[in-house]
Amino acid sequence: MTGTFSGLNTARTALWAQQRAMDVTGQNIANMNTDGYSRQRVDMQSLGGTAVPALYATSNNVGEGVSADKVTRIRDAFLEGRAQLEHASTASMTVADDTLSQIEQAFREPGDTGIQAQLSGMWAAWGDVHNNSTDPGARSEVLQRTETLVAGIRTTRANLDDQWDADYEGLGTLVDDVNATASSIAELNQAIRRATQANLPTNELADKRDSLVLKLSDQIGATSSPAEDGAITVSVGGATLVQGDTTLKLVVQGSNDPDDVATDPPRVVTSPGNTAIRAGGTAEGRLTAMTVTVPKYRNAVDSLARDLATQLNAAHATGYDLDGNAGGNILDDGAGDPSKITAKNLTLAVSDGRKLAAATLSPTAAGGSPSADNTNADAIYQLSLTSTGTDATYRKMIVSLGVEASTATNRLTTQSAIGGQVDASRESVSGVNLDKEMSNLLQYQHAYAAAGQLVSSINDMLDTLINMVR
């Protein structure tokens, strides 16, 4: 037998539930443009009578209204996982692309200011010496042009070093930021766990935490997995970064000198523990830049400088200068040792144009005094024409840099498209659609009005009942 006022109670739960639904709709509309917000939905549930029948406690009641206690956020865990991976890849490839395009800038090719133009200038000066081997002007032109070339090679190398240093500093800052973010996630984990245990809503906190995890994915390639009581575990390359409310600190280790890359490469390690982790995302991009990409081109410039010096010095040594002395080294490391040349210490070792060995004819063969022969100048000029010469090696390097850079750009374009699609799918699941919220609003409004009508009908009914007694 139903109580007299149970209808009123049903109407009351209905009014309350519809109002709550409208509140949630309002929250959705308010946050439609909030980053990382997942739309929420009220899970309405009809309230029934006694679930388990017993001898003296049976009920043939109709239901007892509706409950709207639970508000859930709508998101797809699979897509979130995909997003973490794709964001990490995109971030890593973005750094790779940036690195290569900076290297391209360091070389300034093809153009009139690159190393190639400076090489051509130097060879042309030797050509002028070949034309007039006794002209001091032509000789000092060789010195000037060589000095320009040396400066050009040094500048390129310095640019690459600067780039490496910037990457190293950037990695340090990034790891600091990662540590701070990890602490925030741990705090949120704790807050969410307490709220869950107290049966309080955690949707907004969880959204905030998910955004932070995605940021970590960008920065260092983090992934997350659910744990007990609404907490999550965040891991990076096999190491657990956040578990519950505890975090693992990360630090950058390794020499900050690009020369030590082979022996003591920069790496991200755990502290304590000193275990190197396999970082992803931006950190991976920077690490690759510092251990692979930049050193590769640094070494290429170094060996370019060395080869140039070796070839020039060898050709120069076969000749005789204006005073009849055999040609010495044109290029060395600044301390007189050509075997220790790098692009950084490459130095012009000749300061007097008379000391340039343009002649092949020795003073003895020329009858005792230095000759004005010019054959060796031509021999040096011909170094520019050989297929194993500096020009050819340099050109090959620039072309392979171009190929590598354009491959990186293409890969990034593809990866960005994939990342974009995953983000679009996430938005499709979790985003707020105004049309839907508007129609929901109408729906709830009508339901609210109907529940009100119910109250007034029951009121009339009770009125009738009470007036019967009069």
């Binding site: 391209e104 060879w123 002649a359 020329a366």
Partner: protein
């Protein structure tokens, strides 16, 4: 079916507009810089061609300079040889005159001797002519003279046991041309005492000795032949240089146009693409404006 939200529409539109604008910007960059390749990754093969061509142009410019320089040297040599040829012919005339003049007075013989000596001095001057700071006929000498005041060869190459060391100019990647002529080659080997200056000297001293003078005339003819051959040789080389110069300038044109074809923008094509991109961009803007405005909100009253 994919659920679409207002935010997704806004983001997609923005991404699309960005792509459009980036393409627009790339074309604009090309048009304003005039270059299709501004960094190696724009076109690695194009970069290779461009760098090769640039190197070719630098080399070709240098060969052009070498050719001009070589031409100056050869022209000066030619002029000197022609002058000396005519002077030598005068010496020969005077010699013949001295030979025929059995009845000539001692004073007219003396006059001939004086004139021949004078011509010898003048020819010595010619032989020591300096171009670009170097004696034309001195070979690779480091000094400033080919012959000293006595007429002895002081240059390097072709005499005194030193082989001729040719002075060459590079006129292409694979070709060089010799631009000098040493004194011994032009005027005879001084070792045998039969070179130009010794012979002319002996003519001057034998004006009163017809027997010796007729021997000198024979030697003089030998020297004259040598000089003629040298002049012809120089002329041939000069004409080779001339050919090289015209090859060089047409090569310069070729290379420049190749570089331009590799690096420079195709204006009509790029402007056309730019127009199409502009139309596309405007269409995208228009569509976005239309799509982003309405929601159900506009129709609920």
């Amino acid at each position: 079916m994919m659920r679409i939200t207002q935010r997704a529409v806004a983001q997609n539109s923005l991404a699309g507009l960005n792509t459009n604008l980036a393409a627009y910007n790339r074309l604009n960059e090309r048009l304003t810089s005039g270059k299709t390749i501004s960094k190696p990754s724009d076109s690695p093969t194009g970069t290779n061609t461009s760098m090769l061509t640039r190197q070719g142009i630098a080399g070709n410019d240098q060969y052009g300079r070498n050719i001009t320089d070589g031409t100056t040297f050869l022209d000066a040599t030619d002029t000197a040889l022609q002058d000396m040829l005519s002077q030598l012919r005068r010496v020969r005339d005077l010699t013949v005159q001295a030979l025929n003049g059995g009845a000539q007075s001692a004073s007219s013989q003396q006059a001939i001797a004086t004139e021949v000596s004078g011509i010898r001095e003048s020819m010595l001057g010619q032989a020591n002519q300096v171009v670009q700071g170097r004696p034309l006929f001195g070979g690779v000498t480091g000094g400033s003279k080919a012959y000293d005041s006595t007429g002895a060869y002081v240059g390097v190459g072709g005499a005194n046991g030193v082989a001729v060391q040719p002075l060459e100019r590079r006129i292409s990647d694979v070709e060089t041309i010799r631009v000098d002529l040493t004194g011994p080659e032009a005027f005879g080997d001084p070792a045998g005492g039969k070179d130009l200056f010794s012979v002319v000297k002996s003519v001057a001293s034998h004006v009163d000795d017809t027997t010796a003078l007729s021997d000198d005339l024979k030697d003089l003819d030998g020297v004259l032949d040598g000089l003629l051959a040298a002049a012809a040789d120089v002329g041939t080389r000069a004409s080779r240089l001339e050919t090289a110069a015209s090859v060089n300038s047409s090569q310069a044109l070729n290379l420049t146009s190749r570089l331009s074809a590799t690096e420079d923008v195709d204006l009509p094509k790029t402007i056309m693409e730019m127009q199409m991109q502009q139309v596309g961009y405007q269409a995208a803007l228009q569509a976005t404006a239309q799509v982003m405005q309405p929601t159900l909100l506009d129709f609920l009253r």
